[in-house]
Symmetry: D2
Subunit: 291 residues, 4 copies
């Protein structure tokens, strides 16, 4: 990974493939005096789609942040990029605002907060939200506002409405489900679709409840964890990262759960970091990860 010290702009682009996209975009940056520090792209020929990422230094660049979108449009228009949102533009000196949602298990939350404090995750974390109060002391210890929104029978719609209001109030751009253990409604996801989840097994294997019990009963020799974006179809959203570890007949269900926790915090942290560096593009139900 690049680690430019100076402020950069990052352009993510996803559009039907055509000749000259890289030439036009790199020319655009060059002609305005920009120094590209990282660029990567991928063409999925099976669907004729171009997916790219360009990062350049803003020091010495002829356009201001405010001028960039209009100037980019002038490049994009001749290419016929008339899709909604053919690109995203991000600036490294504007930290993404992330809300972490948890339930009773602390391992993913603690790991993310520790990495945030260590400088591994460049983001603002204005809000921790949970349906239980168990982890409030951790939020207090790290000095981050904590909201308890219980989800009793019949209160889910009200709870989600209150959650959405909090996300808007704190201008949250990404929700990270750090073992939140609740299913978000389709209505919620229509309003706020930028949600990442960690799933404690290899999907599509062992979907549903108690995957470690299922994996143990099946006698598997490896277990896994998977970070993915959340879509209305449960556990079926675009995969960002997966990892596995070996297990044996000596591992009880408790051992699988213990080993799974290490997988979960590693995989989720990697996926969050990649997202925060604007290295993940989704198209259809797939991702391109520009590592």
């Amino acid at each position: 990974m690049m680690k430019p010290m100076k402020p950069t702009a990052t352009l993510l682009i996803s559009c039907p493939d055509q000749k000259g996209i890289i030439a036009r975009l790199s020319n655009f940056v060059f002609q305005h005096g920009g120094n590209i520090v990282d660029s990567d792209h991928h063409t999925d020929f099976s669907v004729d789609r171009f997916l790219g990422r360009i990062e350049w230094e803003m020091d010495g660049f002829a356009l201001s942040k405010a001028e960039l979108p209009a100037a980019l449009a002038e490049v994009a228009d001749p290419m016929g990029l008339t899709e909604a949102r053919p690109w995203q533009l991000h600036f490294s000196d504007e930290l993404p605002r992330v809300s972490i949602w948890c339930s009773r298990q602390d391992h993913c939350l603690l790991d993310l907060l520790w990495r945030h404090r260590a400088g591994e995750l460049r983001a603002e974390i204005p809000l921790i939200l949970s349906n239980h109060k168990d982890l409030e002391p951790i939020a207090v210890h790290f000095g981050i506002p904590f909201q308890h929104i219980p989800l009793a029978a019949g209160t889910k719609a009200a709870g989600e409405a209150r959650s959405l209001a909090l996300l808007a109030e704190h201008r949250v751009e990404l929700v990270v489900l750090a073992k939140y253990m609740q299913v978000l409604s389709d209505d919620f996801l229509r309003v706020f679709p930028r949600v990442m989840n960690i799933h404690h097994s290899f999907l599509p294997a062992f979907a549903g409840a108690q995957p470690y019990h299922q994996a143990h009963a099946r006698g598997v020799k490896v277990i896994g964890a998977m970070a993915h974006y959340v879509t209305p179809e449960l556990d079926a959203g675009p995969i960002i990262e997966q990892e596995i570890t070996r297990v044996s007949h000596r591992d009880t269900v408790d051992d699988l759960i213990r080993k799974g926790k290490d997988l979960e915090r590693m995989v989720l942290a990697r996926a969050v970091r990649l997202h925060l560096q604007h290295r993940v593009l989704t198209y259809g139900n797939r991702t391109v990860v520009f590592e």
Copy 2:
């Protein structure tokens, strides 16, 4: 792994847990002058089952191979081991007889034959069987009899009958499906249940046809392969070994297939070697692998 140069006996035992099993068995070996070179056991407390493996040198052992079974029965009887086949007894100077079954893909067959010639797999291979003639030249090159049993519509029962006759004639103890790509009938498995298979994905994910196409469509970041014993329920038999490799958005279906081939030959070879060293015990739908 131990690699004793001298002939050894290996006892595999699977029985309801009780006190004193290890004491009785190790005493039995000790009192007859045997030197234990490897022993391991596992108790699955969730089903109260003892599973063990003891290997000792036959040089200087007071009992002959012929005398061993009766003498062992005297130890087992007081333990009430009245199950059918509570143990298996193997001798390292009697090589297991293995038949490899293949179809049109050569990678697993070649890998097994190369390892056999290199001394990694201690077995006799009296028969290669296939529903296609494509790989006959490989069998010829390695000097192993090759049988072509086509499986046209309506001939499956006859083909299986002929296969069973060949297995009996060659006194085959284990069939290894090295990308055989055909489903064995329940009738076949009732007569000959000792069959190992390599499956080209992580079950239970992507069961059925074209798992690499399924995996690619799902956008996975790892793919796997699995060696398992065959049972009447398709792809659901006891797992012996699994392994994975990482993939990315850059990998096409063809790349997944290519990477999968390496997984398949490695995983199958490991599983066959473990089986031939009598290190795998099955109980229910699970295995204990004494590595």
Copy 3:
């Protein structure tokens, strides 16, 4: 791993190989009514050494903890086990007392304390010791006494003397160097030899200072971490656990350090857990790890 709920005794034995060791020891347990829940052994034929581990439940066992050593001696004497310390005896209801030593980096310390609180590491931690005050707040947060022993030029001998007094006072059995970054003197190790360390690379590659800078300069494609027992010869003690992760040309030295931190905390935690479960035996400069 077994997870017996009831109190157990664990016997670790290391002695010259001879016939009947397993028989005598398992008989000993059986005859006193003990239920073996886990046993494993290894014979290193290259040096004719037997290394074993037996764990049995103390409930219903005919001998008390106090009676066990003398009774075991009666078994061992006929075997001529006249070496000093041919065995170690541990009881699961007597938690090992561990002191963690750190310097300025918090990742290994935090990870161990989090796992301790989560029940993954069964030990008493009566003392955290550091040559810097930076991590004292973490000790306070977890409610563990913290001792600051600075190591200015000329004060090392005095510092080590004070450390030894603290270890004695707190009856510490194991010191875990969690990125302590200081070399212990031979004199210290003679008095207190039970020290574990995490090394931030693959030894013997990249010994000495700044291994990640060395690894980066060499252009490696994998980096590693290693947990080992400390011996007077620097970084050359018996290896308990190693792990690696892949890196690429895109990884700067800072990225290697970041990825290395994850390796370090995982590897150290695994090694500490194995040690606390009395699963590690050393002989010569090697270990047997009974997983």
Copy 4:
């Protein structure tokens, strides 16, 4: 990995970093009607060096293969790319010519030839060369000319001279040492510097003879293999690929050698494939691998 069916040109470029390199090169391809199917680059800021790879389809490209070098020079000159060999140009319909050198061990040779036949390695293999005759039957089986050049005391210079003549005669572009076990002289490497080797351990650990014996004596928990380009300094050339596998106290030296063979053939095959796809660039003692 891309797998374009149509013929492509691949440009590899390594030069001091400056603004506009990507813009100029992608424009060059675009303006001549080329469709870029894969492009990647890396800037090593620690030495201010740009390293890039662009692959585009030749169908519909306005320049012929013969015209390309001069046209590219017109782009490169204004950038002041006056270094010798600032770029390499390759065409997918011109297969690289590779000679495999071996000694007595067959596993790497067989694996490469099998992959070549399976279409995984797009190259011509006009020559297998060995200092022993043991593997000649394999060459015969695959229909590839085999040359036996023994290396008795005093004949090394003559042998290398004859080898160089054969390489020239067969227009060989890359020599792959597939367990050749001999050190090439500086004189040889000056004349023919494009040599790849597989080393059976993690360098710089366990350099020199019998690395598996060294690794076993050290009691390591992982072993590795490494593919690298050969330089006059023994085992110190740029690393292309590394991989590891876990080992335990149960693994004898023979087991390490057996497991190492699997590592060696996998790692060497991956490195050869990457090289043949023109995905490896070296600078100083490091590589960039455009995967």
